[in-house]
């Protein structure tokens, strides 16, 4: 890249950073809450993308891992008094284990069979969460109500108080940045190449020494862990978990987010998050079913016209702009 280009990149990055830091004080509290959800969904989508986009294993059930992480955090905060930030790594580890275990039978399933099994998992989750035998922990149909963590210090900026939502915004931003960094590094290096090799040429990958069963299960585990961590963060941000928040729709929406943002694209997860947070809000005005209709049309339309999602589209536009001769 020419030195001039690099300067522009730094400049725009700095501007973006400042904008992100100031943003919560420019808008009302409720908007900040929505931004927090965008970040949560972006992380969840990142997790799913790792498995489905990069590794080619189709999961229609990632809502289950999200729910598992959310309930882990909720139970730890509500029943065991664990501080909110400590629930995140625990959720990650537990969901990693859950995902790894799911990954094992998944090894024998390809394509639509895996989609089917994970679809069944997603459908079964609300019932499992309502199960009377574990009501003591899960709060049954009512779920668990939490309190949002208070910010560690208080001040006013631009005439807006540093509320819980605003504090959570920065918290989520940091967590998201960390997860994206980890994912980016993972994907750029040997692991990333192995992921794609396993997706596109599993037999050749085995011939190159990748232990397929272990690798695929690990991928499932890491993917579930990230989405589970997002779920935990989501529980903190929303301060509430209930079985009906985690229906099959969540799994489907996460998939929509992956497809819209771009399969096998890390930055795309942010677009996906923005999309699945705000589109229902806007579409709901039209009719209760409008979001579903829009998602459906988009899924099909994108598969036809822009299979690489928003990121892919942007890449192409960017490539075309740069291809123009200078001067």
């Amino acid at each position: 890249m020419k030195p001039l280009d690099r300067k522009w990149v730094w400049l725009w990055s700095a501007v973006l950073l400042v904008a992100l830091l100031v943003l919560p004080f420019l808008v009302k509290n409720y908007r900040v809450f929505q931004f927090n959800l965008v970040l949560v969904y972006a992380i969840a989508i990142l997790g799913l993308n790792l498995l489905t986009g990069f590794n080619g294993q189709i999961s229609l059930g990632h809502g289950a891992f999200y729910a598992f992480g959310a309930y882990t955090a909720a139970i730890m905060m509500d029943k065991m008094g664990v501080p909110y930030w400590a629930t995140l790594p625990v959720a990650f580890v537990l969901c990693f284990g859950f995902g790894f275990l799911v990954g094992f039978p998944a090894l024998r399933l390809a394509g639509h069979y895996l989609a089917l099994a994970t679809f069944a998992l997603a459908l079964a989750v609300p019932q499992l969460l309502k199960y009377k035998q574990i009501e003591g922990y899960t709060g049954g149909v009512q779920g668990i109500v939490l309190t949002k963590p208070e910010p560690p210090f208080s001040f006013r900026f631009l005439d807006q108080p540093f509320s819980a939502d605003r504090w959570l915004y920065f918290f989520s931003l940091a967590v998201a940045a960390l997860m994206f960094l980890i994912a980016w590094n993972l994907v750029r290096g040997r692991v990333g190449r192995a992921l794609i090799a396993v997706r596109d040429h599993p037999i050749a990958a085995t011939a190159m020494g990748i232990n397929l069963p272990v690798f695929k299960s690990m991928t499932f585990g890491v993917s579930a862990g990230i989405t589970g961590l997002a779920g935990a963060l989501g529980a903190i941000v929303v301060a509430f978990v209930s079985p009906d928040s985690f229906t099959v729709n969540l799994s489907i929406f996460l998939l929509v987010g992956v497809v819209v943002g771009g399969l096998a694209s890390i930055p795309g997860a942010i677009f996906g998050g923005i999309f699945i947070q705000f589109v229902p809000n806007i579409a709901d005005e039209l009719s209760k079913s409008a979001p579903a209709a829009i998602y459906g049309v988009l899924l099909i339309g994108l598969m036809y016209l822009m299979p690489t999602g928003v990121m892919g589209g942007l890449h192409r536009i960017w490539a075309r702009l740069r291809a123009k001769p200078a001067g």
């Binding site: 024998r108 069944a120 579903a292």
Partner: protein
């Protein structure tokens, strides 16, 4: 003992419905090697159409047959317009498009017919001559209807040349082309038939569980379980699998785990079948791949 018999018979009655859904799934799988995730929503939408016709004053059976015909056409059109272009695309693309169809049909049900729960008439009134000790009139009647459908299909595939052509196209599309079969249209036909079966299943289920846009989600899952259990490429196995699932659902619900975890039962059945016996009880193909 009587309670047990009741559970079994009731399970069989439900099982016929699951078996029909399983059959529709197997038909599409046989023809296209894809699992139609939108099957349930399509059936629900068909049932809404029938409901609307009956509300408008149509006689029950008139609405019934019209809905079946419209569903057939709808399934055919969906295959020709939406699915044909991606016939050769990777599995993920197809799965995503199926989910897209699921969402669109669900949305259409909601938008055109709103989300309030509706009751759907049964053509077999409670006190009719059909009611017996173990089966309600509707259970017996709907089992009869579905059996007729299944027999008609069986006859179609075994004794007509189009049926033979469909089987050939599903088994060996390359050779089928070489004898002049328009393979692509056979796929459309398969979709049309599956949609029609789904409509019948939906209309038989609605009087029991009441009609709303999410009516078929759980039933679809049972249909999947039944299809896998019977062998995903075996139509008769699919029906049998559906019956087994119906009976298991009732027995496990009544005697083992209570009625709250029914969907989990389906999940366990699906995962169990896929991992332990991927061919199902009667199927021929193998699923393993690492």
């Amino acid at each position: 003992m009587e309670a047990l018999l009741y559970q079994i018979f009731s399970g069989l009655a439900n099982g016929i419905i699951y078996g029909s859904v399983a059959l529709a799934l197997v038909m599409i799988y046989q023809a296209t090697h894809h699992i139609n995730f939108a099957q349930g929503e399509m059936a629900t939408f068909s049932t809404f159409v029938a409901w609307a016709l009956i509300e408008a004053g149509w006689p029950y059976w008139g609405a019934f047959f019209f809905t079946v015909a419209v569903s057939f056409a709808g399934g055919l059109i969906v295959q020709r317009v939406v699915l044909r272009p991606i016939e050769k695309a990777p599995v993920l693309t197809n799965v995503i498009v199926f989910i897209g169809l699921l969402l669109i049909f669900n949305a259409m049900s909601g938008m055109l017919f709103d989300h309030t729960i509706k009751s759907f008439a049964s053509p077999f009134p409670k006190d009719s001559a059909l009611a017996t000790k173990y089966f309600s009139a509707h259970q017996l009647g709907s089992a009869g209807v579905l059996l007729v459908v299944l027999l008609a299909l069986f006859g179609f595939f075994k004794y007509t040349s189009v049926g033979l052509a469909m089987r050939a196209a599903a088994q060996n599309p390359d050779s089928a082309k070489l004898v002049g079969i328009r393979v692509s249209w056979m796929l459309g036909l398969g979709w049309g038939l599956a949609a029609a079966i789904g409509a019948v299943a939906g209309m038989m289920v609605a009087p029991i569980v009441f009609l709303d846009p999410n009516m078929m989600a759980g039933i679809l899952l049972y249909g999947f379980a039944g299809a896998l259990l019977g062998g995903i490429d075996n139509p008769i196995g699919a029906v049998f699998g559906g019956l087994v699932v119906g009976v298991l659902e009732n027995l496990l619900g009544a005697y083992v785990i209570g009625t709250e975890l029914k969907l989990t039962v389906a999940l366990v059945l699906i995962v169990g079948t896929l991992t332990l016996r991927p061919d199902g009880l009667f199927g021929k193909k193998v699923v393993t791949r690492v």
